[in-house]
Symmetry: C2
Subunit: 414 residues, 2 copies
């Protein structure tokens, strides 16, 4: 019998307890040990829970109980999850988590503490909810150099964009609907402005390249500026706008790592990832493109990923899993203004032909786009790959010449 | 330093040697040990190979060398791969393989021998080439009961069907093109008649349900009977025809396991899996639908999956991986004539209205389908779910009444 503790009894935490109970037998078969919950840590009261006698408000109960070998941290947030995780690892307990914020900001440090104490720190549930992605990248794709990862990593923004694309719903209305359906929080900033996706691409980049890449180093832009006009141009061009977290290794061994809306072609495997689903494209040098698709959030999918990690810890109480990266430095990341990509621009000008001529002098391989019912004075173009610094100079020069730049959106190259 | 041997130097085997050499450093970092090839077994001569001094024609060199801890069996076929694998496992060497035929026919026995000798028998590359699927099912989805697996498991037939769907190319012409491009073998039976997909769904079913399900027990039907008329009806209906390997657990705990062409709706995540790509949908009770997509074959993708297993064996020279199933019995599989599904029929009749009336008396929830330029006397229908035995009675009754049954194709329910 192996005893586990669950820290946090919110959506994911209560799901973890539920899955451990409802799948008790098959889990025991797979872990080769029975797994029992000994404590559930939460400051709230749950008098009607089937686990009522397991609740504690004191973290020390868990820390000081040597029988507890594995702890599931599903509290969320950095504090006190960080301190609790650190103490558990130092006490020789393995920790599994769905806490992307903690892994993204303290992963290297916690992995090092786990290594020193010969225990495991696993976080399959931190990216992609129930979609297996951390383990496939670290194990199945171990014989590859990962060249690029590009993913739709946030279900809330993907739901909003899907409504804008399919039903021509405006951003604000789609956001309200997402809130009504419980997909978006009352304060939707972390989702809508790309912070959540930024944490996830940080974790994936750290895993692929072996060095911690912090979310602060990721150029992050959300979807609040996306308009139905941009969606219509993407559609006429033969594609869609998606919020993409992307990391790619450049020739000089630095990383181009960003979260931003992108035009992606309809033929891309990510174009069909709609609603609250997530999809993650991993390009390995040997394996080619591999795509993982599924529900990126939700109580049971996320809980089942946490429990899979619990099982893995129980199977590896003696042998440590090799999931590890060291601390990184900011010079691993290419400064955003030096990154190179094709770009879409939507402009407003009194003299459209003159504006087009000007754009052509400023940017390479300019092609015009069209959309039904575009108003007079509107001009949309797509360029070839061009460095961001030059894009910004072009925008300044256009504004200078009285041409309004209404939108500027990256065009994906995967 | 850990020494490995590679048995077979064909497409996959030479890829394994190439990946082990080209990724030497990153593999060593991940395996925490340097990995070196000591022998390559092949009866042919490769005087120009960079590994020329490693070649041997004698299996005993490998078997008797205690330094060889891991053996990659990439010979294909059951004999002598079976005897060699058995001997290696009995000698305490771990074996990894891409050999789906061997795993599908001898998996339970070889897994048991591996268990007895405390070594690993791993076969990530046997299904889906470079797509991680064996490990995600056995580990990441460990906290789930798998309800259903449905996959496009064979790239050759998927290429042929894609040409039929997109370019209205007939089956024979598409097959010839696949042969010209090297996607299909000169004798294409194993691919075209579904045997290859049958082996793969056998392996996935055994893995999900813990009991060996042999390919002989899988109702297997290929795509040689699919016509452009059927493709056109599928398109009008809003879908495509794909060759699907499927296993689902029924309420009485038997398995519905088949390989057959199916009508699938355009909205299904498998509908967009085209050309030589594979896609595998796994439905877990907690995690919901998870889809894995990528290149299902090819030298480097498959080789990289074999090497990932080599790395895993090296990391687990002492602790065994828990990848195991026991032998199964045929009564685990629901007899095909007792399985229930909706079906599409294409008929030819002199009196179409009378034929339609007759179909309605024989089968439930009959709806007619249409296609552009259908000839006089053609009738296509789709039914509700109905047991195969009754479908077959209906076909007999229709033929009896002078109505020709031109096609009968399953309609997918995922």
């Amino acid at each position: 019998m192996v005893y586990v503790a669950i820290m946090g009894h919110g959506v994911v935490g209560s799901g973890v307890a539920e899955v451990l109970l409802s799948h008790k037998e098959s889990i025991a078969r797979r872990a080769k040990e029975e797994i029992a919950i000994k404590y559930i840590l939460d400051i709230r009261e749950f008098p009607d829970s089937p686990y009522v006698e397991k609740f504690t408000k004191s973290f020390d109960d868990i820390l000081q109980d040597e029988e507890v070998r594995v702890v599931a941290e599903v509290m969320g947030g950095v504090h006190p999850a960080y301190e609790f995780t650190k103490s558990c690892l130092e006490a020789g307990k393995s920790v599994v988590t769905s806490n992307k914020e903690l892994v993204a900001t303290k992963g290297a440090e916690l992995l090092e503490i786990a290594r020193e104490h010969n225990v495991n720190y696993l976080f399959e549930a931190s990216v992609g909810g129930g979609i297996p992605i951390i383990r496939p990248i670290s194990q199945c794709l171990a014989a590859n150099e990962v060249i690029e990862v590009a993913g739709i990593l946030n279900g809330t923004t993907n739901f909003i964009l899907t409504k804008m694309i399919r039903e021509k719903m405006g951003f604000e209305e789609a956001l309200r609907l997402a809130q009504q359906l419980g997909y978006a929080e009352r304060n939707p900033t972390a989702d809508v402005e790309g912070l959540d996706a930024g944490r996830k691409i940080s974790i994936l980049a750290s895993l692929c390249y072996g060095k911690h890449i912090y979310p602060d180093w990721v150029h992050t832009q959300g979807i609040s500026g996306i308009t139905l006009e941009d969606v219509a141009y993407a559609s006429s061009w033969g594609g869609v706008i998606k919020l993409i977290g992307q990391v790619r290794r450049l020739e000089d061994d630095t990383l181009d790592i960003t979260v931003e809306p992108m035009f992606i072609e309809q033929s891309s495997q990510l174009a069909g990832v709609d609603d609250v689903f997530n999809g993650i494209l991993v390009k390995g040098d040997a394996t080619g493109d591999v795509v993982f698709y599924g529900k990126g959030a939700g109580k049971l999918p996320t809980a089942s990923a946490v429990v899979a990690d619990v099982i893995d810890c129980v199977k590896h109480l003696k042998a440590r899993k090799y999931l590890y990266w060291t601390d990184g430095t900011k010079d691993l990341v290419k400064p955003y203004e030096q990154t190179v990509y094709p770009v879409y621009l939507r402009l407003q000008a009194e003299d459209v032909p003159a504006a087009l001529e000007l754009v052509k002098t400023l940017l390479p391989q300019v092609k015009t786009l069209s959309r039904p019912q575009s108003p007079a004075g509107e001009l949309a173009v797509m360029t070839g790959p061009v460095v961001v610094a030059r894009q910004e100079e072009a925008v300044a020069a256009l504004q200078e010449a009285g041409v309004k730049v209404l939108s500027k959106i990256r065009v994906a190259e995967f």
